[in-house]
Symmetry: C2
Subunit: 190 residues, 2 copies
């Protein structure tokens, strides 16, 4: 069992509606020691892929992406949500539907920071319906770069996103793949 899985069992809480709260250590309060372990774990999973860039989406993915990028010795790029004045007009954009909020939002990346030939690893905190990663995939492909993998902290295997990404040809790997949370008991996939 890795550091994230252990931490989910000790400090994660399950709320009705299959909501897993990890905001005491991952996406509101952050334990940087845990993130350091997670970065090392992601590196082990993708170190043979010749990654030269890490791409994530603001906000919760940023810190995880940074601690992963250090092992690869490559820059992080974080896609911005919505229209940002200071990003400029020269951007790649994708529309992402959020099932949580029931609305769509745009993610944008400046054309300067994803280039043809880049070998990109996407990092994100949660995978449920897969829409965010599919949006980033479109941006990477629009840039003529290659999506070499998606490293996810927590995957809800009982939602459809993981299979959608696999069907789209993406190499998806998760640090904590949760098979079920019935009766508030968290079961990881073997």
């Amino acid at each position: 069992m890795n550091s994230l899985q252990k931490r989910i069992l000790t400090d994660g809480t399950v709320l009705p509606g299959n909501i897993l709260k990890v905001d005491s250590f991952l996406n509101h309060q952050i334990d940087t020691g845990l993130l350091r372990d997670m970065g090392a774990d992601f590196y082990e999973l993708f170190k043979d892929k010749n990654i030269n860039k890490i791409l994530t989406i603001e906000a919760s993915g940023i810190a995880i992406a940074c601690y992963t990028a250090e092992h690869f010795n490559v820059p992080v790029v974080f896609a911005k949500k919505g229209n940002h004045k200071n990003v400029g007009n020269d951007v790649y954009t994708a529309e992402v539907f959020s099932f949580t909020k029931g609305t769509s939002y745009d993610v944008t990346v400046s054309k300067r920071y994803i280039n043809k030939g880049d070998r990109v690893l996407v990092i994100d905190d949660f995978l449920a319906n897969g829409q965010a990663v599919l949006g980033l995939k479109k941006i990477i492909e629009d840039a003529g770069a290659e999506l070499c993998g998606a490293g996810i902290a927590i995957t809800k295997c009982f939602q459809k996103g993981e299979q959608m990404l696999i069907d789209a040809g993406i190499d998806v790997k998760s640090l904590a793949a949760i098979e079920s949370m019935e009766d508030c008991v968290i079961k990881f996939r073997e």
Copy 2:
């Protein structure tokens, strides 16, 4: 001259309207090596303050806050913008006016992560009008905690925020205090 100042001179660009673009290394693409240096520099500035928590606002402040928090060996908390379903109702909230966008937005922090007696260092990427830090100050005080300092990556000294924070009794320290950007020439304060 510290690492951030050097990097601003080599890779920062000035646009009309006193806009400083640092998105190639700080707030869109991120150079984690630079952030590591910045974290060490912030620690030197505030190490005598008995800090036990770092508070920032999503999204650009998160990575800087994490690399700073490691030196203090304390957790990071990032305030969320807008209303977030998964944060819960038990939150401290402050309204922040954005001069850039001409509108206000809410910042929220769960009551679980700022506690009475906490000694909090606020970290943020830019200081211009000071509204974000004042919003965080309100949240810290609502929690019965103490704002022990504000560590800012880049301060635009020619805007009114820095003085407002000083007038509010905040110990503000910046890694790069920019006195002027006239004719696209960046001048740091001595």
